[in-house]
């Protein structure tokens, strides 16, 4: 074994290796790490702690409530710029729910508004560097999706009793086809919470990983000196473009989650298609 690098070739090799190590240091997965900030103890074998995830949920809630209360403080008859942002968001959500589920659906308005605003603000907040992405965790999106579905099923049965089952039998289906249609409808119903949660989770996760990977390229290429710096321009532009795309995705996914929730609530309100 030689003690040190002796040839230029080996020198170069080591530089490459160190660049690779540099790139390794930019771990695109690390950002999703849940860390315990304050530990409270054990519950059923799991540690219960105030985590960075919880911190960002708290920030999200504070931002939403703070913004809404601050902007409507004046209760202006003629709204200022910020007050009209709150009003527009309110009316946008209200119209979305009313169009999807009718005026009876308005009883779920606070829930839909909470869901929409929570996901939207959490998504947008995650675009700030070093901020945690609450919605890139399947357990969070899954819990929200299950909450939606349990409200749909619970309210559907409470309001229509067994009539809620009409949801699985579309009108005007010829007799022999009914069992097959019911099976398909039932499966599609079961897949709703899965697709609802995975869509949001996967979008946020993939977006943030892509961002980190391209940002990592900039660092790795930068380690090669002037040529690398020139080469790093390309991934840098990509990072800028992907950031813009991810902000769009943040809005879009929050909207998709909310509008699907509205449609599912419509099923609970009016089970017969």
């Amino acid at each position: 074994m030689r003690l040190g690098p002796e040839t230029a070739e080996e020198n170069e090799g080591q530089a490459l290796a160190s660049a690779a190590a540099n790139a390794d240091r930019v771990d695109p997965i690390h950002q999703f790490q849940v860390t315990n900030l304050v530990e409270f103890g054990q519950i059923g074998g799991s540690t219960f702690a105030f985590t960075n995830s919880a911190l960002f949920m708290a920030i999200t809630v504070t931002l939403i409530i703070g913004f809404m209360l601050m902007t409507t403080r004046g209760r202006g008859l003629v709204p200022g710029r910020l007050q009209s942002v709150t009003e527009m968001f309110y009316e946008f959500t209200a119209n979305m729910l009313r169009e999807a589920a009718g005026s009876e659906g308005m009883r779920f308005f606070p829930f839909v508004f909470a869901l929409f605003s929570f996901i939207l603000v959490a998504n947008l907040l995650s675009m700030v560097p070093y901020f945690f992405t609450v919605t890139a965790h399947i357990v969070i999106t899954g819990a929200l999706a299950l909450l939606v579905m349990s409200i749909v099923v619970g309210y559907g049965f409470a309001k229509h009793g067994f009539g809620f089952m009409k949801l699985f039998v579309p009108k005007d289906v010829p007799g022999p086809l009914v069992p097959m249609i019911v099976a398909i409808e039932f499966l599609s119903f079961l897949s709703r919470p899965v697709s609802l949660s995975i869509r949001l989770f996967a979008n946020m996760l993939a977006g943030h990983i892509t961002l980190k990977v391209f940002a990592g390229f900039i660092l790795s290429l930068g380690a090669f000196g002037a040529v690398g710096w020139a080469g790093a321009v390309l991934p840098f532009l990509m990072v800028v473009a992907i950031t813009a795309l991810e902000i769009l995705v943040s809005f879009l996914q929050a909207y998709v989650f909310a509008i699907l929730t509205c449609m599912y609530l419509n099923d609970a309100l009016h089970p017969s298609h």
């Binding site: 997965i29 790490q33 540690t47 105030f50 995830s53 209360l69 909470a114 605003s117 929570f118």
Partner: protein
């Protein structure tokens, strides 16, 4: 014993490696963080806490406030529209009343003018008839006087004719005729003339 010690060393080494490698992934048990079940409990509890809090604050405070603001604005707009409608109706009524008063005044003015014209005409007529009556009276008087003068003149014509006849006869025949004869002849001639 030896194997146990060896196993322990191996475990320690593994832990060291894990600690070194895991500098970037502290706390991770070598799993993909979103699928790390050890964090699920904390995340779910805090999600329940904060989402519940968000729902509560939204449904109790923030959303009713926005709803009140929007409702007040809609009410105000509806009120203002109703007020504008009312004012418009009032102004239309005022215009109608004005036009009616104008028409009445015009009719009245017309009436007054007509009356004045009629009165003036009546007065003029009265004046004219009075003047005419006056003139007629004067005319009649004049005619009467003319008749009188004519009759007087005619009456004198006989006397003149008698005198003239006497003078002519006396100058022609040289003798003075009988007055009665002359008067008869004159009145006969005057009667013949009158018949012709």
């Amino acid at each position: 014993m030896v194997t146990k010690a060896l196993a322990q060393t191996a475990a320690e080494t593994a832990a060291d490696v894990a600690a070194e490698h895991g500098e970037a992934m502290e706390g991770a048990h070598g799993v993909f963080p979103p699928f790390d079940p050890s964090t699920f409990l904390s995340q779910l509890i805090w999600l329940a806490v904060f989402f519940g809090l968000l729902y509560l604050l939204l449904s109790r405070v923030a959303l009713p406030r926005v709803a009140t603001i929007l409702e007040e604005r809609n009410d105000r707009i509806a009120d203002d529209l109703a007020e504008a409608e009312k004012l418009k109706r009032e102004s239309e009524e005022a215009v109608a009343a004005y036009e009616q008063a104008l028409a009445e005044a015009r009719a009245k003015a017309h009436g007054i003018a007509q009356e004045a014209r009629d009165k003036a005409k009546a007065e003029a007529d009265a004046e004219r008839s009075k003047v005419e009556a006056d003139l007629e009276g004067k005319l009649a008087e004049a005619e009467e006087r003319i008749t009188e003068v004519k009759e007087k003149a005619l009456a004198e014509v006989d006397a003149i004719a008698k005198e003239t006849t006497q003078a002519i006869v006396s100058s022609l025949s040289g003798e003075s005729p009988n007055e009665g004869e002359i008067a008869r002849a004159v009145s006969q001639a005057g009667g013949e003339r009158r018949q012709a």
